[in-house]
Symmetry: C2
Subunit: 406 residues, 2 copies
C-alpha cells in the first residue's frame, strides 16, 4: 500500500467551489493508485463562523483570560467541522471516506495546551481504514493527551499533523496544498519576479519558514526530515508541480542540481521593535543581563536578534510585546531606548556557510538603495538584517536581485 | 458532598443575556452549598451558527445521505462549543469551572449513531473536579463508545445526559431548566388557563412526554426513575419552583396529596396520517398483517395507533412518512385509504386504571364540541383519540375543562 498524506489549509476549504477543487486533488491521487490520508484545517478565515479566529473571538469576547484547556476544546471543533464537511464533498463524488478526529487518528501529545507537541502517533485506526479502501480525513491541528485531554498544536499545526502522519505511515510523500504555487524565492507581493523553487532541502525551507515565509510550518519540516519523508508544497487551484522539499543527497540525484545555489530565498518579518539597554553604568553586568532575559522569559515574551556588548544589550521583540517589555525593563530600574517599526530581512541558504563575501554582497545591496542597517546577525545558513519597516520591501527586492534569484 | 445536576436547553443559552440568567441559577445553587454539575445543549435554534439544526443543514446541503457516524462527530461540536462559551460566562463571574466533553465525563454508549443509548457512566473525572470545588460543565447529548467512536443520544439527549449523571453521582436532584415555568396540564398556547403542576410522578410525566409534551425527554425520566432521583422542571428566567417529578410514595408524603388526581394532563401530537387497509378479500390475513408491519419496520417508519380488525388494518404514521408508507403498501399489492391531517389528543393519568367512566367523559367532552373521533386507543395510564387537525385545539380545551384541570 503506497500512502500519500495531503493537507489542505483553511483558504483551500472556505467555499464549496474551493472544496470541490481540493476534492479533485484527492480523487486524482486516489485514481493514481495511492491510499490517501487527508488532513484539514478549519474552514476559512476570521468571519467564517467555523474558522479558528472566529471561535477564539466568540469566547474571548466573554472572557479574555479563557483557560488554555477550554480554548483547545473549543478549537478542536473547527477542524472536526471542516473534516465532516469535506468528507461529504468526497462522498458526494462517489468515494468512500471516513473522518477521524486527532484523538481517533492516534495523535498523542503532551499537555501544553494551545502549543502541544506530538509525543507519538498510533496509526492503527488510520491503517485499518486505508486497508478498507477508504479515504481517511483527519482533523488537523489537534491531539489528545494520555489522560484524555484534547489539545491543539499551535499555529500551523495542521502541517505538523500531516508530517507526523506521513512519518508514522511511512508515506511516499506529504503534500501541503495551499493558495500559492509553491515556495518562492521571496514574497511575490513584494518581489514581482519571485521564482517558485522546484526543489529545496529541509534545512533551507526550515530556515525560510522560521524567518517568516509562511507557506509551511517549520515544526512540520523538522518532523518530516527525521524520517526523510519528502514534502511537496503546491497549489490547490492549479496543476503546477510546486516545490519539492527533500534532503540534500536526494537533491544531488534530482534533475535540478541546485547544491551550488548560494542563497535559497529572501524572507522577511515585519512589526519588530528594537530595544537598546545601556549597561555601562552598572557593576554586575552579567547579573543584570541574566535578570533581563529571565524577566522576559517569565513574561513569555519571545526575544530575538540578541546582541550583548560590554556597554549595552540589544534585542528585538514583536511590536505586540514592546510595551510590556519596556515596562519590565523599567521595573528592573533600567533605562531603555525603544525603536518600534522595524522589520527583519533574511537571506537564507544552506550553502552559504564558509563562503566568503556573502555579508559583503548584502551590505552592498542595501547600501546601494540607501537602506540603513540597524543591526545584523548571522548563522551558518542565514544572515539577518534589521531595517526600518519603510525600507523592508526595498530591502527584499534589492537582496533578491543581488543574488540573481529571479 | 451534596450534588445537583442542572441542565440548560438551547433556548436558555442563545444570547449572552440568557446565558447570564442561566449562570445566576448555577451560582445561586453553588452559594447554597451544593456541588454543581451543569449539562448544556447546543446554543439556540436553527439560524444560530452553532445550533444542532444549523450544523445538520451545513452538511445535508452537500450530501443528504451523510453517514450517521460523521453526523454525530459534527453534532458533538455544538454542545462542546456551548459548554466552552457557558464556562466563560461562569468564569467571568468569578467562579472556577471546567468543561468536560461527554467522553471526558465518562458517558459510555452503544454505537447506535444518532440514537445511542447510555451503557454506563464513569463519573470519576466529574467527581474529582467537584472535589476540587469546580463547577463542572458537561457537553450534553453526547457520549463515546468503548472503541472511541463519538455518538449522540438523539433528540432530548441532554436531558438524558443530565439524568444519567444524576444517577451516577447520586445527586440530590436534577434540575431541567427551560423557557416555561414547569410541566403544564396542557400546552398553554392552546389552553390559556393551563396550570403548572406542582408534583407529578415519573410515570405520569413519562406518559405525558411520550404523548407529545415536549418539556422533558421520556428516556431521561426513565433513567431518573430507576434510582429515584427527583427531577425538577423549571424556568431559567424566573424564580418559580416549577414541577417536581418524583415517585408515587414520595408524593404521598408531600404537602400536596395528588394521588387521587384522575387525569394529570392533556397532551397532543399534530401532523399524523391515518392509513386504512381493507383485508377482507385476502385469504392469509395474518401473513398479510405481518408483511405490512415488517415492511414498515424495515423502512424505519414508526407506526402507532394500531387497530387490527378481521376485515381491516388501521394504523397511523407521521405525516412526513405518509407518502413512503403508502408506496410500501401499494408495492405489497394492497389498496390503502389515506387520511392525512390528523392529530392525536391524549388524556394522561397514572390513576385512571380501573376507574369507570373515564372514556365516557372523554367521548362526552368531544361530542359536546361536535368533534369527530376517528379512532381511539387506551392503556392503563392513557386514553388517545385521533381527531382531525382542525379539531385538535378544540379537543384539548374540551378535555382540559371536562377534567377540571385549570
Amino acid at each position: 500500500m503506497k500512502i500519500i498524506v495531503q493537507k489542505f489549509g483553511g483558504s483551500s476549504l472556505s467555499t464549496q467551489e474551493k472544496r470541490l477543487q481540493a476534492a479533485n486533488k484527492v480523487i486524482a491521487a486516489k485514481k493514481d493508485g495511492y491510499a490517501i490520508v487527508v488532513v484539514v484545517s478549519a474552514m476559512g478565515r476570521t468571519g467564517d463562523p467555523y474558522a479558528t479566529d472566529t471561535l477564539i473571538n466568540l469566547v474571548k469576547n466573554i472572557n479574555r483570560d479563557i483557560n488554555p484547556r477550554e480554548l483547545d476544546l473549543l478549537l478542536n471543533c473547527g477542524e472536526i467541522i471542516s473534516a465532516v464537511v469535506f468528507c461529504q464533498v468526497i462522498s458526494n463524488l462517489g468515494y468512500e471516506a471516513i473522518v477521524l478526529t486527532g484523538a481517533q487518528a492516534g495523535i498523542i501529545t503532551d499537555n501544553s495546551f494551545t502549543e502541544a507537541r506530538i509525543l507519538k502517533v498510533n496509526p492503527e485506526k488510520v491503517f485499518k481504514n486505508l486497508k478498507d479502501n477508504k479515504i481517511v480525513i483527519v482533523a488537523g491541528f489537534q491531539g489528545i493527551t494520555h489522560d484524555g485531554e484534547l489539545t491543539t498544536l499551535g499555529r500551523g499545526g495542521s502541517d505538523t499533523t500531516a508530517a507526523a502522519l506521513g512519518v508514522a505511515l511511512d508515506a511516499q510523500f506529504v503534500e501541503i496544498f495551499t493558495d500559492v504555487d509553491g515556495i518562492k524565492t521571496a514574497d511575490p507581493r513584494i518581489v514581482k519576479d519571485a521564482k517558485t523553487l522546484d526543489v529545496v532541502t529541509y534545512n533551507e525551507i526550515c530556515h525560510l519558514a522560521h524567518q517568516g515565509a509562511k507557506v509551511i510550518h517549520p515544526r512540520a519540516v523538522e518532523i518530516a526530515m527525521q524520517k526523510n519523508i519528502p514534502l511537496r508544497v503546491r497549489s490547490t487551484f492549479n496543476d503546477a508541480p510546486g516545490t519539492l522539499v527533500t534532503n540534500h543527497s536526494d537533491m544531488q540525484n534530482s534533475v535540478e542540481i541546485s547544491s551550488d545555489r548560494l542563497i535559497t530565498g529572501i524572507a522577511h518579518v515585519p512589526r519588530i521593535t528594537q530595544l537598546k539597554i545601556p549597561t555601562k553604568n552598572y557593576k554586575d553586568i552579567k547579573g543584570l543581563e541574566l535578570k533581563i532575559f529571565r524577566s522576559m522569559a517569565l513574561s513569555n515574551i519571545s526575544i530575538d536578534f540578541i546582541n550583548v556588548h560590554p556597554d549595552q544589550v540589544i534585542f528585538t521583540v514583536r511590536d505586540d510585546d514592546a510595551e510590556k517589555a519596556e515596562q519590565i525593563i523599567n521595573n528592573l530600574g533600567l533605562e531603555v531606548e525603544v525603536l518600534p517599526g522595524c522589520a527583519k530581512v533574511s537571506a537564507v541558504g544552506a550553502n552559504m556557510a564558509g563562503v566568503p563575501g556573502v555579508m559583503a554582497k548584502i551590505v552592498e545591496a542595501l547600501t546601494e538603495e540607501n537602506i540603513q542597517i540597524l543591526q545584523t546577525a548571522d548563522s551558518h545558513t542565514t544572515i539577518w538584517c534589521l531595517v526600518k519597516k519603510e525600507d523592508m520591501e526595498k530591502a527584499v527586492i534589492a537582496l533578491h536581485r543581488k543574488f540573481n534569484l529571479s
